[in-house]
């Protein structure tokens, strides 16, 4: 943990709403090493996106949020706690040392500025480039993310590009200043299936070429196998399982992870091409954020639940050197 690029420790994030306090993230710890890809997986409302946004303190305007814990980030000049850093220092980190790619590229780009202007802006802000230099660099970045005829695309407005191209432009913007850490918050969810794979491959390529740390937020376990070194599974604001991606996918040690894996669509091949695709789902719904009982938060939907599971909160236990599970019966999960 000492040499981690990003180390989130016991992060708690609460939203104060008219209906009361919602504990969206409840004691999450995870780390990303330099050059490592960590996937954070979970359903909607699991707290995975809030965890990601907490790193850059990108909460919504008008949200009343309280945070607790530490988010240590290794800057070139030494480690800082991002939760307590002043705004001015935070601004040099945002877009410069840590960049983020959001879910919906159509909404994330400003509709009234050209793609070139929006990319050049980051370069001017963090690398002090002049207007012309920044635009030239923006063109080469667009080329880097696989956009054909980048020089012409500089002058395009977001609405003139396809969804996939917009997300490529967002990625170009994110990597413009060679950040040490890239956060991708469900970067493929809003895109066509055919485009999704391309975007994931692009992110992987860039991550490897530049040796960035990558925090990849997704609800899609399929993608985890393709991209991640390690995976952190979240449920109801907590980490329920963590470990090397290949190992966790092959042999999950939490019933929730196993259930998620079972939800992946499977195809039954039949004569004449009349294949059937089966999609199963985890019965029940995740608890409303913050509305949890005393015991295991997954108990209501778990097939392995025992009375003892509901008695007291279940701690996150180390199974071996690099695996964690929040299940009393972790050893029995298969």
């Amino acid at each position: 943990m000492a040499d981690a690029l990003l180390a989130i420790e016991d992060l708690r994030v609460a939203f104060h709403t008219a209906q009361g306090v919602v504990q969206a993230v409840d004691g999450v710890s995870l780390s990303v090493a330099p050059g490592e890809t960590v996937a954070v997986v979970g359903e909607s409302g699991s707290g995975k996106s809030v965890t990601a946004l907490s790193v850059l303190r990108l909460f919504g305007r008008g949200d009343r949020v309280t945070t607790d814990g530490t988010v240590r980030f290794a800057r070139a000049t030494g480690a800082v706690d991002l939760l307590h850093l002043d705004e001015t220092a935070m601004r040099t980190i945002r877009g410069g040392e840590i960049a983020i790619v959001f879910q919906d590229p159509s909404a994330s780009l400003n509709p009234v500025f050209t793609i070139g202007e929006q990319i050049a802006e980051v370069l001017r802000r963090h690398r002090g480039l002049g207007r012309a230099e920044a635009l030239a660099e923006a063109a080469s970045l667009l080329g880097r993310v696989g956009i054909a005829d980048p020089q012409a695309r500089l002058k395009a407005y977001p609405h003139q590009l396809s969804g996939g191209m917009r997300q490529r432009a967002m990625i170009a913007m994110a990597i413009a200043c060679d950040p040490r850490l890239l956060i991708a918050d469900e970067p493929t969810t809003a895109l066509d299936v055919t485009i999704q794979a391309q975007i994931v491959r692009l992110l992987k390529d860039i991550q490897q070429a530049r040796g960035m740390g990558l925090m990849f937020i997704t609800h899609d376990l399929e993608l985890v196998g393709e991209i991640a070194d390690r995976v952190v599974v979240m449920y109801a604001g907590q980490v329920v399982e963590a470990g090397p991606a290949a190992v966790v996918l092959a042999a999950p040690r939490h019933p929730y992870t196993r259930a998620l894996l079972a939800c992946r669509p499977t195809r039954d091949y039949a004569e004449g091409g009349a294949d059937t695709i089966r999609i199963s789902a985890i019965p029940g719904a995740p608890p409303r954020p913050g509305a949890n009982g005393a015991g295991c938060r997954f108990a209501a939907r778990c097939v392995m639940v025992e009375p003892a599971c509901r008695d007291a909160a279940i701690p996150l236990r180390a199974l071996d050197t690099d695996r964690l599970s929040r299940c009393r019966r972790a050893a029995e999960v298969a």
Binding site: L56, T92, G95, G96, F102, D104, N110, E121, R125
Partner: protein, 314 residues
């Protein structure tokens, strides 16, 4: 672009025709006419009444009167005032200079006050400053323009011992006098419009700052100044353009009252005095002129849209 322009021009022409018809009919719907005014209560001389009606062409069928007026209007001839005998176009041109100056000054003052106030309130949403600005908006929107004008007039003379000059002077003739005359009317009109602007811009800003591309701008490490005055403002400008057109049209409507209060010889007073005397050519001509101006402003706003919003460019 050409298609859009043609369509807009077509609908503008249709609106202009309907307005001409409405202006004509409205005038006739007002009880009494010039003949009644001239003869007064005592006028019981049937033959004199009929002769006068015939003289003004009021004895002809309504549609004939309308088509005649419309036809001449299309050639640019709005007729002559029944009282003064002067060409209506010349009277409008003279009065419009006053009204235009009043409207443009008001637009400038209210924009310069209202837009920054609204942006400030939106940026500082939920703070005391926001509450204070919204209170101003509410007061400004609810205070009647003629009352504000009257209070300013009374207040200026009671507390400052100052009154605006009585005789109207053109800016070209005497800039100092002209500005002194314009000061209070512009303030009276501008308070209302600044409040309207401020409230509108605040709402736009509040919505805008919650949009996802603003989160992107923050994530890029931009400063609040760049976020508010570049990324947010540029988007807010689009609906603001339409609003500016609306405000200008509203100001043109508001001048009728304020011109009378401050004795400014503008279009509002021309229409009002014409109406009192049932001077049909003057009222019809001036009203139609105001309507055409409003239509023209809306057309201009539509075209400006295409310049400001890249999504509407061909």
């Amino acid at each position: 672009m050409a298609v859009m322009l043609a369509r807009r021009l077509g609908s503008a022409a249709a609106a202009a025709f309907l307005s001409a018809l409405a202006v004509f009919l409205l005038m006739r719907a007002v009880p009494g006419d010039i003949v009644g005014q001239m003869l007064g209560q005592s006028g019981t001389d049937r033959s004199a009444e009929a002769a006068l009606r015939a003289f003004f062409g009021l004895d002809r069928p309504m549609h004939a009167q309308f088509l005649d007026w419309l036809g001449r209007t299309l050639t640019g001839d709005l007729g002559r005032s029944w009282y003064q005998g002067r060409a209506v176009t010349a009277m409008i041109a003279e009065a419009f200079g006053v009204t235009l100056q009043l409207a443009l000054f008001t637009l400038a003052v209210s924009t310069l006050i209202g837009v920054p106030l609204g942006m400030l309130a939106g940026i500082r949403e939920g703070t005391r400053l926001d509450t204070a600005i919204q209170t101003f908006n509410l007061l400004g929107l609810s205070a009647p323009v003629f009352w504000v004008g009257l209070m300013l007039l009374v207040g200026a003379s009671a507390f400052l011992g100052w009154s605006p000059p009585f005789i109207y002077r053109d800016f070209a003739d005497d800039p100092g006098e002209n500005l002194a005359i314009m000061l209070l009317p512009v303030i009276s009109l501008a308070i209302l419009q600044a409040a309207a602007y401020s409230q509108f811009v605040r709402g736009l800003m509040v919505t805008e700052l919650r949009r996802e591309h603003i989160r992107t701008a923050i994530a890029k490490g931009l400063t609040p100044r760049e976020i508010y005055f570049k990324h947010a403002l540029r988007n807010v400008l689009i609906p603001l353009t339409t609003f500016m057109g609306l405000i200008l049209v509203q100001i043109l409507g508001g001048v009728v009252v304020i011109e009378s209060l401050f004795s400014l010889p503008g279009l509002g007073r021309l229409i009002l005095s014409g109406l009192q005397g049932r001077d049909y050519p003057v009222v019809q001509g001036a009203l139609l002129f105001v309507v055409l101006i409003a239509i023209g402003i809306n057309l201009l706003v539509d075209l400006l849209y295409a310049v400001i919003d890249p999504r509407l460019r061909p």
